[in-house]
Amino acid sequence: MSYLAGLLKTESLITAFALVGVVMFLSHLASKYLTRGRVHGSAIAIVAGLGLAWWGGRVTHGNNGLADVPMFAGVGLMGSNLFRDFAIVATAFEVDVAQAKRAGLLGAFAIVIGTALPFTMGVMVARAYGFTDAVSLTTIGAGAITYIVGGVTGTAIGASSTLLALSIGVGVFKAILVMVGTPIAAKYIGLDNPRSAMAYGGLMGTVSGVTGGLAATDPKLVPYGALVATFHTGFGCLVGPSILFFTVRFLVGG
């Protein structure tokens, strides 16, 4: 038994491939037999992944979900930005160039709204919960854009680590909501073509949420959403500690 645990630990990335493969297989079985194909297997697999992350966090009290369990550390590498970004780039092979070009302006518009709107919402909620100073309001608002923007902005304007954790928490919860909610909401928000996928990528912004959500909805749409969403984080990191922070400071004073 200890040999097996040691083996899985040394071969961590290989273990991760095997584990994720088994999770995908079981999820597709569940999709076929428990939901009669109504819920996409990928959606179930992502929820299963989140469930495993919850379990990992509960057992280890770490910050990296399942990856903090030594035996499954390889999941951290497999799900790292390095692998994620490489795989996202590959999906671009499927992009319909003419479509993407025509929707470029719409995507840019979506990024601006998708930054200003969640920020405003985050600031308003933080204000309602009793935060009054510009740094706290901006940090929590930036977390509502995405968790990366929250972290970068909070660090840049000198937020405390408690505040950073709160801000990143908002962003992580947003990513989870988008991942799980997209397949359910897709029909109602007209998410069935590249243009709306690009608008969606710009508005939701969170690369993990958007790409996970679209993968579970319709894999054809992934590259379009991802193409725009990857610019969203950069834009958020640009305006968060600058324009948005100055605006909040101007409004609340101090």
Binding site: G56, G57, G79, V95, L106, I176, G190, L203, T230
Partner: protein, 156 residues
């Protein structure tokens, strides 16, 4: 050869990341600005160029498609790395702020797709590339025979 496809993608990814870093430094941001997006644009450009020259071999396609098919599993692994436990325990403010942000944006997406109906209704996936997201979903049947032979140029 399969490695050509992987290498083209890797070069596109490196160039994109470098460009994103340069752009980030230019605007004084401690983050990569759009690196993955640039990489995607480079890869699409490479595909179009190869296609025009009839040089998009099955091997090159296999090298890229493999990574595209690994995309969903990678996302599952990524989901398993999130700090779900602490997110699930966080206070009502975190939940409210997250939900308000997602809901408001979903409403805007719905409005945009209603207003934009005329522009998007005609879309069909491009016939020459992959059908029904097969590149990301994985092929449903056995691989076509020509994947094995690297030499056949792609018929336009």
């Amino acid at each position: 050869m399969t490695i050509y496809g992987v290498a083209i993608m890797a070069i596109a990814a490196l160039l994109g990341t470098a460009l994103g870093d340069i752009l980030g430094q230019a605007v004084h941001v401690k983050a990569n600005v759009g690196g993955v997006g640039f990489a995607m644009i480079f890869l699409v450009t490479a595909r179009v160029w190869l296609e025009k020259r009839g040089a998009l071999t099955p091997g090159i396609k296999l090298g890229v498609e493999f990574w595209a098919t690994m995309y969903i599993p990678v996302i599952v692994a990524m989901a398993a790395d999130l700090n779900v436990f602490s997110a699930s325990k966080s206070g009502p403010m975190v939940l409210m702020a997250g939900a308000a942000s997602v809901l408001s944006c979903a409403i805007v997406v719905a409005i945009i797709s209603r207003l934009d109906k005329g522009n998007s209704a005609k879309w069909e996936p491009p016939p020459d590339v992959f059908i029904d997201g097969a590149a990301i979903n994985g092929p449903s049947g056995p691989l076509p025979d020509d994947v094995a032979s690297d030499q056949t140029p792609r018929t336009p």
